[in-house]
Amino acid sequence: MKLPIFLDNHSTTPMDPRVLEAMLPYFVEKFGNAASRNHAFGWAAEEAVEAARKQIAKLIKADSKEIVFTSGATESDNLAIKGVLEMYHEKGTHIITSATEHRAVIDTCKALEAKGKATVTYLPVDKYGMVNPEDVRNAITDKTILISVMLANNEIGTINPVKEIGKIAKEKGVLFHCDATQGVGKIPVDVQDMGIDLMSFTAHKIYGPKGIGALYVRKKNPRVRIAAQMDGGGHERGMRSGTLAVPLIVGFGKACELCDQEMMAEAVRLTAMRDRLQAAITKALEESYLNGHPTNRLPGNLNISFAYVEGESLLMGMKDIALSSGSACTSATLEPSYVLRALGVGVELAHSSIRFGLGRFNTDEEIDYTIKKVIEIVTKLREMSPLYEMAKEGVDLKSVQWAAH
């Protein structure tokens, strides 16, 4: 077993060597511009791009003409929300989204609000982090032009009832955008069945290269139009100009093909591994609380708060395991995770959270090591924690008058 161990597969994933192999010919040998229509270099590039488009579309049950390449999911989210608003603003400017969306969606909405271009409803989530479809229905007004709700949350892994939301969107004639960055390639996605009109996803979360993503844009029932946010050569049916990143697109396609073939078996394997990790940790450590939905969540996700210890110190004590925390000390804002706060998790427990993200290349041996390390460091830091000491003495921490700073 090699250290450090990578257990942060929600942030990114290592590239699958099979993906790299597929990409290699497109750097030096087949370097053409896919938009060059008059020579063999261009044709070879275009052919590779169209083959990748098919592989990607197949994974989400779309038509390959509905795939628009972008630089990644952040750009896809921006393009979807700003593009729809700009195209349909005469119909209305109301957007519905949820409190636990990725910053690429929330901050895009906030920016549009600040500029006075849109009004936005941020729906609350339940204690597991799920959006209630009825809340979506009730939030729709005659000015609503877009619903944007994520498929699966990047921190807690909770999977939203996207199909129900899609149905309501159809019923009400409102477009439905879904940020599926964490879900695609991990759980089955069917844009037809789920009633999704626009969908963001990216290659690097599914063992593909960084720097390439896609926006699915529905072509019929209804035909969705978006205003381009990048002017130029009119690539991607005019929706996103810029020379296509052929090697990255080839890698994205291969990554999707592998997910399509292996996803179901991989989900079973990761779920078993994750459940074992969860059971061992929570059995050994009292007052460790699961964040997110107990069952309805991504196979590789585990988010736990360890009462009385702070997240960054936990990460520091497990330097040879790459993990992430909802602690304020690990964020640029000095605020603990807004996702956990939206679930109603107390601030102190949000500071104490650790996210484990299991992926394709993790092994049982790595999980064994992680279990041992987590138990060791939490026990050590609790010994060091005045809060743990007080709790053991029977002090109700909520009744203490803290000198906040």
């Binding site: 960054e312 110190s313 924690s385 005045p386």
Partner: protein
């Protein structure tokens, strides 16, 4: 963010971690911070004849907070009350090479020292009444 070697050393090998009984003779206890803010420090001193003969800490917080309080106990031991009053957060920042975002950890440690000294003083005053 990379930690300085000194922060890592204090984190891995905390000095004087533990507790005295609060009502023990000559013990002063300072508890500062709040769980909602992500850090709470408890710092205790044991005083004999105006000199701090022992110090202990327990800290809930990030690595820098743990290191700051660990260092504080190291510095407190052997100092007189008057000398201990003079420990400044900037001394801790310098010794541990704390980056700007972690300066509040050193401030908290200074506050904890001040609080422990004040608690000791209060108890001593009550006794002489």
């Amino acid at each position: 963010m990379a930690y300085s070697d000194k922060v890592v050393d204090h984190f891995n090998n905390p000095r004087n971690m533990g507790s005295f009984k609060k009502d023990e003779e000559g013990v002063g206890t300072g508890m500062v911070g709040a769980p909602e803010c992500g850090d709470v420090m408890k710092l205790q001193i044991k005083v004999q004849d105006d000199t701090i003969v022992d110090a202990k800490f327990k800290t809930f917080g990030c690595g820098s907070a743990i290191a700051s309080s660990s260092l504080a106990t190291e510095w407190l031991k052997g100092k007189t009350i008057e000398e201990a009053q003079k420990i400044k957060n900037t001394d801790i920042v310098q010794e541990l090479n704390l980056p700007p975002v972690k300066i509040h950890c050193s401030v908290l440690a200074e506050d904890a020292i001040k609080a422990a000294l004040a608690d000791y003083q209060k108890k001593a005053d009550e006794k002489t009444k």
